[in-house]
Amino acid sequence: MPATSHVSPQAGDPLLLVGTMKGAFVLRSDASRKNWEVGGPYFPGRAIYAMAYDPRDGRNRLWAAVNSSYWGSYLSTTNDFGSTWTEPETYGVKFPEDAENSVKQIWQIVPGNAAEPNTLYCGIEPAALFRSDDAGETWLLVKGLYDHPHRPQWQPGGGGLCLHTILPDPANKERMHIAISTGGVYRTDDGGKTWEARNKGVRAQFLPPEQRYPEFGQCVHKIVSHPSNPKRLFLQNHWGLYRSDDGGDSWQDIANGVPSDFGFALEVDHNDPNTAYIIPLESDEFRCTPEAKLRVYRTRNAGESWEPLTNGLPQENAFETVLRDGMAGDNRESAGLYFGTRNGKLFGTKDGGESWSAIMEGLPAVVCVKTAVA
């Protein structure tokens, strides 16, 4: 196994949590965000589709979803930024016996609303949501979603039938959005007891023309909401790019001037709800950056128009793919944005995308990038 290095962040240091198909990495920098120290690889050989940082209640806890094709999926934590990780004797996220189902992969781990500092959520394949109210010690299946009458009609997308995105509403602990491929967006307004599909206006291009706007069943690749204006959401679909201004009640097509409205990665500027970033891919068959140019597209007017950001990114022979959790922004005044590719390259900007630089190359395929502040 490769030698493992560690980082020792100081309070306030920016962190990058990078999950790959063959392990996890924790990167730290200082306020300049210029140079990054690398910790890892952790869990070599395991696919780390989800990572998260939980600073609530005085914790400095990193989470990793550890997926092994041999030994199953479990959650691991570290309270020292990666030097030591937990290896639980028994797995916490699992279906009850009467659910007649088994966890195939953990896709998402997310701290809950700040008002519930011991609550976390976990999304898995096959599509289901789990909740912990004791800081991750124990987990329970969210039955309100699992028993939803739509569930038997959800279908697996290319990545399987996964619940891949969880967005607790920072302003309302009873509200949360989740996204399922292929099921669509669902929202609860009562803390998870009941859920309603929220896909009005979102296209399902893989259905016959007269069925292309169903109540549910869209292949939603990613949704993001703005931290201080959570009714503002963006959605990257399996063909289609959308914005909602009403908490997902309706969606408007905003694929204005992008080279492709197919893609996965999506992020919103934490300081500006009108600014969002995407990395379009060419077609569902090819799934690489159009024209072999690695371009991040930015809107500053909530999707009325988009501009390519290329300074510092390869513009020749760049057959890159950035997946649904492969891009994340920080909350600094001069926005930092980071993304990792299937070809193992990690790029970053600290000026809102005006200029980019390579942070790492030669990583295993990147499937998850998250930001945090130590």
Partner: protein, 118 residues
């Protein structure tokens, strides 16, 4: 001479009409899984299990950390884990219902089909 179904078992003659048979089976554990057996690679279990499933249930009592790694929450053998009884893969037999006899050796191994894609 022991009856065939007790081959490999130890017998104790407790007097007229009563013979106790103790049928040990031994698990062979290697590699990553030994992290959950305190490093033990040979683990005998001895309350006369008659199937692989029963033997595993005893194994879990001794080393609970093996359970979720070998079977899923519905008790089914994980897709890329194989179990051999005296050299025979239980996927070609009756899976966890495969019968075992005293003296059986049960080996748990990751399958050639698993692992992370290149």
């Amino acid at each position: 001479m022991l009856p065939p179904r007790f081959a490999g078992c130890e017998s104790t003659d407790n007097g007229p009409l009563t013979i106790t048979y103790i049928c040990m089976v031994t698990f062979n554990i290697a590699g990553f899984l030994a992290d959950f057996t305190n490093g033990l690679s040979e683990i005998p279990v001895g309350s006369s299990p008659t199937t692989v499933g029963e033997a595993l249930h005893e194994l879990w009592q001794l080393h609970i950390g093996l359970r979720d790694r070998v079977v899923n929450e519905q008790g089914q053998l994980r897709t890329h884990v194989n179990i051999f009884v005296d050299g025979e893969n239980i996927r070609r037999k009756q899976l966890l219902d495969t019968p075992i006899s005293g003296g059986s050796e049960i080996t748990i191994l990751p399958s050639v089909s698993g692992g992370t894609p290149p």
